[in-house]
Amino acid sequence: MKRSLSLIIGCLVIALALSPNAWAWGKAKVIKIGINAPITGDIPKVGEGTKYAAQMWLEDVEAAGGLEIDGKKYKVELVIEDNEAKAESAVKANTKMITQDEVIAIVGPQSSKQAVPAGGVANDWATPMITPWSTNPDSTKDRPYVFRGCFLDPFQGPVVANFITEEFGATKAAVLYDVASDYPKGLAEFFKIAWEKIHGPGSVVAFESFTTKDADFSSQLTKIIQSGAEVIFTPQYYNEVALIVQQAHELGWQKPIVGSDSWGSAETVNLCGPDCYGLFFSSHYAAAGATGSTKAFIDRYEKKYGYVPDDVAALTWDSLGIVQKAIESMGKLTGNIEKDRTAVRNALAKVKDFEGITGKMTFTEDGDPIKCAVIVKINDKGEFEFYKSVCP
């Protein structure tokens, strides 16, 4: 018993001695940035994109010799924590990174389910956090230390409504959405409000719902076709998109169907096939036909990891870029982590016209960026092609 206890203690001492933390004390200050990502769990692809984008960013920073603050170069270290796509694990990961690893800022978590609770932790500990992908307003609401890298659903609804009005000249729209899921439900309502603001009350001629896991939408689509709608808006995830679009075509619908950023997965076209070609949706960025720094990012990512990066990777890249800009403009590193975090937070709030690969960003009072949405067209090869950008 005694021997095993001393063995354990011995191991712990050795582990502590070998850990980079212990050695960092005497050396030059290292800036640590936390990444809270779903490496395992339901959405491992999202975690992978986050990690890869972060590693690419670190490469660039290392090549430049570190982050430059007040004329001095500081080394950077990434602390990547797995949140298993669970809310409680995301909270735990944030707490650990803040209290043990002493990170100066956190990027992540990605989905709202984890970003909303984890944002509370970051705000309570006065540590700046950027969630690249969460579109739920609650993530940043009343949390001065929490920011986000993407637009919000109350913005996306009007964007799509305006786009449809201009592009197709339609005045009567139909909406088909899942009433049992928060994201489609919220977005469908925001779209309805925006559409009726433009075209008057009653111009959403069919507001049809279904329930998660439904596979047959023939009744709803028959009603929509009969209502005289000129366009269908359906803010659904990829498996439903495939079914809705195919069934609409089988029921004789030839007019446009428009989607939202939930269409952005590579799976959408895999499941839907040629039925989805030529359709439009709103998104954060478009891979095919990208130009400038966006194209450079895509090419580099594809060469390194073998596939076209999705919106999560691009938004993570931008969020890290914003953090970098904030740190470099914060003035002076005091060495007191609490003071430094607040300095980073204040610098973040002052970031103006940041040129990201997903668009130009300026944060509002709430920490949400004012940025443009992209309208993506699914082209004849099934690629997501940039069509136009819509700004607030």
Binding site: S218, S219, E250
Partner: protein, 307 residues
């Protein structure tokens, strides 16, 4: 009026799935006095088997080893899936239910639920959480019949279902095996004494029920080409309702009730908000059962049973 006919066509397709699955439920219940609660998941397994068979065949066709048109691939897929799924059904009967033949009915029902979970998680583990895309074997052609849109897929689904139902009816009525099944349904304790191999008949019942579920799974894949491991649960419940509504062990009853369920669901969603669909549809079913507790063609327990 076109809306009515359009919905009629939609309902025929939707009802076909319920009817095909309800038939399997009803047969097992009729012959063995057993609710096979795993039947919805057997349907799901059938859909996945069809998916594997269809993708293999299309891959072979694409590689140029065999040049076969899409509808032949589809027929081959249905036949292969039915046979393979029949084996799955026989295994379930042998491993899950046969040891419990003499046990209380509740044990068998619980076993069914567990088999369902095993099938769901098994498929999840093997196929992954990603949705499977059923290959489009036949080019979808839409016909415009005076404003009513009918696809070749819909016609095929309804036709195949009706052919299968007639074949099953003839099998049960005209063959020796069918007679043995009817005898088992009449009294499954006495029948073995007459020299009827009860275990073989039980396995056969499961094989046919699972085969029909596989045909439903394959047709489902053609109509709704996105498969996931949990798609069988709700279908299982609803087909169970159809089996009860049709009357215990009645082939005609299960068929009619399956189609009726499809019609009610489609038309309720057409008239009311779709959130009210299941609420109204199953309230109607409840009302029917209040007045006919044994279903359309069912009879009280002690009386003679049909199959």
């Amino acid at each position: 009026m076109t809306v009515f006919f359009q919905s009629l066509v939609n309902a025929l397709q939707w009802g076909s799935f319920y009817a095909l699955i309800a038939l399997g439920y009803s047969m097992v219940y009729g012959v063995l006095m057993l609710f096979n609660f795993a039947h919805g998941d057997v349907f799901m397994v059938g859909a996945y088997i069809s998916f594997i068979v269809a993708t293999t065949l299309t891959a072979l066709a694409a590689a140029g080893t065999i040049a076969i048109p899409g509808w032949v691939v589809l027929l081959l897929t249905i036949v292969c899936a039915m046979m393979l799924n029949a084996i799955v059904g026989v295994i379930i009967e042998r491993v899950g239910y046969r040891p419990l033949r003499e046990a209380p009915r509740a044990s068998a029902a619980i076993t069914g639920l567990m088999i369902g979970i095993i099938l769901e998680t098994g498929v999840l583990a093997i196929m992954g959480a990603q949705r499977a895309k059923f290959p489009s074997l036949i080019q979808s052609v839409t016909y415009d019949v005076g404003g009513v849109f009918i696809t070749n897929k819909k016609i095929m689904i309804v036709l195949v279902s009706i052919v299968l139902m007639i074949a099953l009816d003839q099998f049960v009525k005209k063959t020796k095996w069918g007679m043995a099944m009817r005898a088992m349904a009449f009294d499954y304790t006495v029948v073995p004494l007459m020299g009827v191999p009860a275990n073989v008949i039980a396995a056969l019942t499961f094989a046919i029920g699972s085969g029909l579920a596989a045909s439903a799974g394959c047709l489902f894949g053609v109509a709704y080409p996105v498969l996931d491991p949990y798609m069988g649960i709700v279908f299982g419940w609803k087909a169970f309702v159809a089996a009860i509504l049709g009357g215990r062990g009645s082939i005609l009853g299960a068929t009619l009730a399956g189609f009726l369920l499809g019609f009610i669901e489609i038309f309720v969603a057409l008239i009311f908000p779709s959130t009210m669909r299941d609420f109204i549809a199953y309230s109607i079913i409840l009302l029917i059962l209040t007045f006919r507790p044994h279903g359309f063609f069912g009879e009280p327990h002690s009386a003679r049973l049909r199959l």
